[in-house]
């Protein structure tokens, strides 16, 4: 009969951010190890986590391991006997398997006949095998940071590190305790430090109990009983239930305050607080109205990042002088907790207010001197040096790249002041406010919107999505200066650190070069929407100019195209463009073509949109297939040549040549106007003449002059199309 498996690893408080991963691992590792033990789960594997417990449960698992039967191959029969007697090799094989020689069998293989041993191992009962599951599970669980807590397992590997010390182990199979012991280091073990023995016991909430003292053990026999007893003892096992409860309580409390709490905006915090508690409750607190004079960014950062508490807003979206704290209890008297919480908030806000007033006494301009002491990178100097570089770069981007000389002074000024907030007390205390505080201080000292908003939003965009902030509305008149500053800063970081030898490898990207590259690409990709500038700007001159500002003009730029190509590909696919369309448009930047390197991300985006719109037409599908042939055959042209028009005589090739001649101008005009649909439509109409050409013309003619002319025709056609996209990438895979 199949029975239930229930495991609870009782631990000291685990960090909230680890719980989602550990919940997954508990299910995955348990299932994997059970299968390895040949004990099939007969029901879904369910797992749960609270700060103090990691739980996994399977409604049914087999009562025994499956029997194991395997054939172990020994030496070939030809080497197994000498003079009718078993050889040393044959006897050695038997001995190794722990059997007499006559218990071996023979096995026919393609290589001949071999000695073999048919190994049969009867499966153990689940109760006997399950301790192996626990050993493996305890070893398998991976933590972002692990600790030594003087624990050991008798599996030959000794010390057992874990995320936090384990304090109890509930380990039941069919209601019976599976015996298991976690040992302790000889140097630690004693009256205060003892082995952890599995038992049919769990523990409830640390402080709350219906009767008697909290923290006494609770006996359970099944998962249903476990869950019921936990809930009586103030532990909500499931994350989703804790989260829902928190959501409801927050909304109720906000309503009582005549306010709202923006749960959607705070979704990540909701997840986190639900994993900070076992029995969630909410307490409302207040702070002095005068703190509402602080920038709202400072208020919300204080509450959200530092305390994990929720700000509340009135119906018009303005912050109120109140906050909601999620607590691990449902207190009889909220005010007891609230009073202390309010003191914490008041202290933090008073600090913030002190910084706010002190910081504003020193204008950003005079902070530039202090930037000397803030290191950007040991090979690239201080932030003062960086500020000087991005000032130059932003000015040039605004005037020369964007063609907006009127915005150049503001862009340069914003870039010059952009890093000054690194020397403010506020940013020292709240590093997550860098940029934002610089913007706020610039606004306070009377800088125009074009300057302060460019500083404020300089670190954006961070996400890849087209609607990731900032938006045109947020930027207002600062759109152009912002784009110039943000691009300048990102390019300076990317190019500077790359040339300083800080390479991105696998998951190692300590300077966030990927994110910087992605941000720069996104600005160019969305330039019209973000700034109203319609230009398709390429990355190559931006990188070249950045190197020039670093005083490294003429340096090779070979390391950039591949890296930037990969980022562009990633942004476009993240936005939902099919991978084959992106590949068609954003070709790997090989040295010969260097397509995306010299072309613009925005152009790639537009071409991809056009290609996506056109690809389903019949002509286009057929053309894509033909294009593959064109590409292949054009490779035969070993030396570039001028097209020898006179040599082309067959009607089919004359027709194709005429058609290309006629369309080329239209295509070029369409491209110049960024009308890529039109360009593709014109290209699609080449299908018939190409088709005819391949039917009627033999390209590889004997006559070398004729052959070269035909190959050149193919090469010209290839280049005409490749100028937009390698449309052979979108050939349906069924072809």
């Amino acid at each position: 009969m199949d029975r239930e498996l229930l495991i609870e690893i009782g631990v000291e408080e685990l960090p909230a951010l680890w719980l989602p991963g550990l919940t997954r691992q508990m299910a995955e590792r348990t299932e994997f190890r059970l299968r390895e033990l040949r004990i099939a789960p007969g029901a879904a594997v369910e797992s749960f986590a609270t700060p103090r417990r990691l739980t996994v449960r399977i409604g049914k698992i087999a009562e025994r391991q499956e029997d194991l039967e395997e054939t172990i191959t020994g030496p070939p029969v030809s080497a197994a006997f000498k003079d009718g007697q078993p050889t040393a090799a044959a006897l050695g094989f038997a001995k190794k398997q722990g059997v007499e020689f006559d218990q071996l069998t023979r096995q026919q293989t393609p290589k001949g006949e071999y000695l073999a041993f048919l190994k049969r191992q009867r499966g153990r009962s689940a109760l006997d095998a399950l301790p192996d599951l626990m050993t493996a599970l305890l070893r398998d669980l991976a933590f972002p940071k692990q600790m030594n807590w003087d624990a050991r397992l008798e599996d030959g590997k000794g010390n057992l590190v874990f995320g936090r010390p384990i304090r109890w182990l509930l380990f039941l199979y069919g209601g019976r305790v599976v015996p298991f012991t976690i040992g302790r280091a000889p140097g630690a073990i004693g009256p205060q430090v003892q082995e952890v023995q599995s038992a049919a016991l769990t523990y409830g909430h640390r402080f709350l109990a219906t009767s008697g003292r909290a923290g006494r053990s609770i006996k359970v026999r099944s998962f249903d009983e476990y869950q019921a007893r936990l809930s009586e003892h103030f532990v909500v096992l499931a994350h989703s239930e804790r989260r829902d409860r928190i959501g409801r309580e927050l909304e109720n409390h906000a309503r009582r305050l005549g306010a709202r709490v923006q749960l959607k905006e705070h979704s990540a915090l909701m997840d986190e607080v639900a994993d900070l508690v076992e029995f969630p409750g909410v307490v409302a607190g207040f702070f002095d109205r005068s703190f509402l004079d602080l920038p709202h960014e400072v208020l919300t950062t204080t509450l959200l990042h530092h305390q994990h508490w929720f700000p509340v807003v009135s119906d018009d979206g303005k912050l109120k002088e109140a906050f909601l704290a999620v607590v691990n209890t449902q207190p009889q008297d909220e005010r007891v907790i609230a009073k202390n919480a309010e003191r914490v908030v008041a202290a933090r806000l008073r600090d913030a207010k002190f910084f706010w007033e002190a910081d504003r006494k020193v204008p950003l301009e005079s902070r530039l001197e202090r930037l000397h002491t803030v290191l950007f990178h040991k090979k690239l100097g201080s932030y003062r040096d960086k500020a000087e570089r991005i000032e130059k770069l932003a000015r040039w981007i605004a005037s020369d790249m964007f063609g907006q000389p009127a915005a150049a002074d503001d862009a340069a000024r914003a870039a010059r002041l952009a890093k000054a907030d690194l020397t403010t007390d506020m940013v020292f205390e709240f590093p997550e406010l860098q940029g934002i505080m610089g913007g706020v201080y610039a606004r306070e000292q009377g800088e125009p919107e074009q300057v302060w908003k460019a500083i404020y939003h300089q670190y954006l965009p961070i996400g890849a999505e087209p609607d990731a902030p900032p938006t045109r509305e947020q930027l207002g008149p600062a759109a152009i200066t912002w784009a110039a500053v943000s691009l300048a800063d990102k390019l300076d970081t990317l190019v500077g650190l790359t040339s300083a030898g800080e390479k991105v490898t696998g998951s190692r990207d300590p300077f966030a070069l990927r994110r910087n590259a992605q941000g720069a690409i996104r600005i160019l990709l969305d330039l019209p929407e973000l700034t109203g500038i319609k230009l398709e700007l390429p990355l190559a001159p931006l990188v070249a100019r950045t190197l020039e500002v670093y005083g490294r003009s003429g340096t090779t730029t070979n390391e950039y195209p591949a890296f930037l190509y990969e980022r562009l590909l990633s942004v476009m696919t993240q936005r939902g463009a099919p991978i084959e369309v992106v590949r068609a448009v954003v070709s790997p930047a090989d040295a010969e073509r260097a397509v995306d390197w010299n072309r613009s991300p925005l152009r790639a985006r537009r071409v991809a949109d056009a290609l996506q719109a056109m690809r389903s037409s019949e002509d286009f599908q057929a053309l894509a297939i033909l294009f593959k042939r064109v590409k292949n055959i054009a490779k035969e042209l070993k030396q570039d040549a001028v097209l020898d028009r006179g040599a082309l005589v067959e009607p089919a090739e004359r027709a194709l040549l005429d058609e290309i001649d006629r369309r080329r101008l239209v295509i070029e005009h369409a491209a110049a106007a960024s009308d890529y649909r039109r360009a593709f439509a014109e290209i699609a109409s080449l299908r018939a003449p190409i088709d005819r050409f391949f039917t009627e013309v033999f390209v590889m003619a004997e006559d070398s002059q004729l052959r070269t002319a035909r190959l050149k025709l193919m090469a010209d056609l290839r280049d005409l199309i490749l100028h937009f996209a390698d449309i052979s990438e979108i050939v349906p895979t069924t072809e």
Binding site: F207, N328, N340
Partner: protein, 298 residues
Amino acid sequence: MVTLQQLVFKLSEFWASRGCLLQQPLDIEMGAGTMHPETFLRVLGPDQWNVAYVQPARRPADGRFGENPNRLFKHQQFQVLLKPAPDEAQQLYLQSLEACGIDPRAHDIRFEEDNWESPTLGAWGIGWQVLFDGQEITQFTYFQQAGGLDLSPVSVELTYGIERLAMALQDVADVYDLEWGAGVKYRDVRHRDEVEQSKYAFGQIAMPAAGLHALHRNLFDEYYRLSETLVASDLVLPALDYCLKCSHMFNLLDASGGIGVSERMAYILRVRRLAVAIAKHWVGVEPDAPAAAPNDNG
């Protein structure tokens, strides 16, 4: 009302009754009670040790001229070290709060991840900040390394912020309003010290900044040399005294803006070098041998 001194009595009494020796503060400036030899050295090696003491902690950069209700140039830590860390460490800790008059059922007491690290001591541990209704009142750490050495058995260190805890117990919002003893305020005892120490820490003295920096640098170098000599003479405890002096000089230089960023790292590494040598001498490991791993936790 629990006065500040009653709080110290209660904690001392509680931990003494749980087998701790009561030690005294070290008579040398330090940034945290962890640097006291009763913690820094006792966590090393195999011997059991249970100890509790109050240690004034000086943090020049936190000086606020007696004007900030929460930040102090010098605050007091009640430090408990239990080695090996008992299985019941958390319960013991919570009982100590009850002994101070806190009812855990009426409050929100939580253990939130906060791993402790001291680059200058080559020490780190895993643990939590204990939040009492959102206020951090204790740092709770399972020591993993000190002086660059892996530790086994593992010790647990509890560092209570006496002022913070007292503010919660007395329900006051300003540290200077705390009742130190009956009828005597924290302000009466400490305010002048805070004002004067802050002025010194931030260089408001009758000497140009450059002069003060040079003086501190010079003192750092002298203390450093002395500590080095003492280590070489195998006098571990005096060597630690002067290592702590170096650390304090570094903190003063740092607070008064006397060191640049790259230089800052170099100072930290120098203090760390001393701390590591001292730790190795204490346990009898050859200082030049590569750090041996006493256990296999990688």
